[in-house]
Symmetry: C2
Subunit: 197 residues, 2 copies
């Protein structure tokens, strides 16, 4: 592929990526003014990685984590966001996301499509230390926005402390134990204050 | 500073950063559905850097460029966005942005505040190859969204080919000549089609 042909393919991918700004999530902004979209969420997560790198356990390569987080939600352009507290068919979602990854990364020149797809596959597999830290940040940001907004999306989705500990706490504790130690008492305090005595 | 105290400071910074999602820009999304905000713009630029790194001239460190782009607009939380075609008092804007950088980076632990502030200062100075490539991407993304949307924001701001070549073309040509070669004929074709014959 010549340089201009590569650039044509790369720009088709980058223009398609623009659509992630129109995919909305269950979590609101910190001020509860509106639901967050997946593009600004991805920016915020990359900034989390940049700032919180020192709390990653062991050998984590923050530049790779940032690249993963920039890409991690692109499949939602076709497959949508799946709220963490919803009842979902995991196999069906995974199949839709694989198809989405084929189509979207497939817009790129083939060498680059393979590289970025491998990075997304690694994130999804959540086995490497880099992917586990990236996944931990993806779970750590929403409860921070919930605590800031007064718990709007927890209330709306009838979240319970038990569900938060399982679906949010477990992946944070696995990929970034220091971050779970920091936020767990804050989450417990919020839920304790809502429990009728 | 102890580890939990550092984390308190870092989380205050990251929660404050959430406000960048509410700063709107002159450019619309590619589908013209609404104005773009500075947080999703920053994500898109970081993705541009990730994908277009091979077109950077000479010795550019793409991981540093991505970090710069993730941070570059944070000052807009206090200082707002300055549309590129507006008439602005450059000295007053620069002073407001310096104050904003003092306050916002100042939320971080002091060693990290100094590191990230230095990266933002380097971006603003636009002298290093990394900063010039980052600045070039910051100017390259909006005309791509304009071309995709049918030129909505060019029309709204009465942009002329001459202004686009000066304010957008010059910094792209300086930091990323291959990207200017690619987009310049597309921009000229769009403006030529709008000129009455
Ligand atoms: Ca996510």
């Amino acid at each position: 592929m010549t340089a201009p042909a590569r650039l044509n393919a790369q720009m088709a991918f980058l223009n398609e990526a623009c659509r992630l700004k129109s995919v909305t999530r269950a979590t609101t902004l910190c001020d509860a003014s509106r639901p967050e979209n997946s593009a600004e969420h991805s920016w915020h997560l990359a900034l989390y990685a940049l700032v919180l790198g020192e709390h990653a356990p062991g050998d984590v390569d923050i530049a790779r984590v940032i690249r993963m987080l920039l890409l991690h939600d692109l499949v939602e352009i076709d497959a949508g966001d799946n709220p963490i507290y919803g009842q979902i068919d995991h196999a069906a979602v995974a199949a839709r996301e694989q198809e989405a990854a084929d189509r979207i990364f497939g817009l790129l020149p083939s060498d680059q499509a393979a590289d970025l797809r491998a990075l997304w596959d690694e994130f999804e597999a959540a086995e490497s230390a880099d992917a586990q830290f990236a996944k931990a940040l993806d779970r750590f940001q929403p409860p921070n926005q919930n605590l800031a907004s007064g718990g709007v999306s927890w209330l709306e989705h009838n979240a319970t402390l038990d569900k938060v500990e399982t679906r949010v706490g477990a992946p944070i504790a696995r990929g970034a134990p220091a971050l779970w130690d920091w936020i767990a008492p804050r989450i417990r305090t919020w839920f304790a204050a809502r429990t009728p005595h």
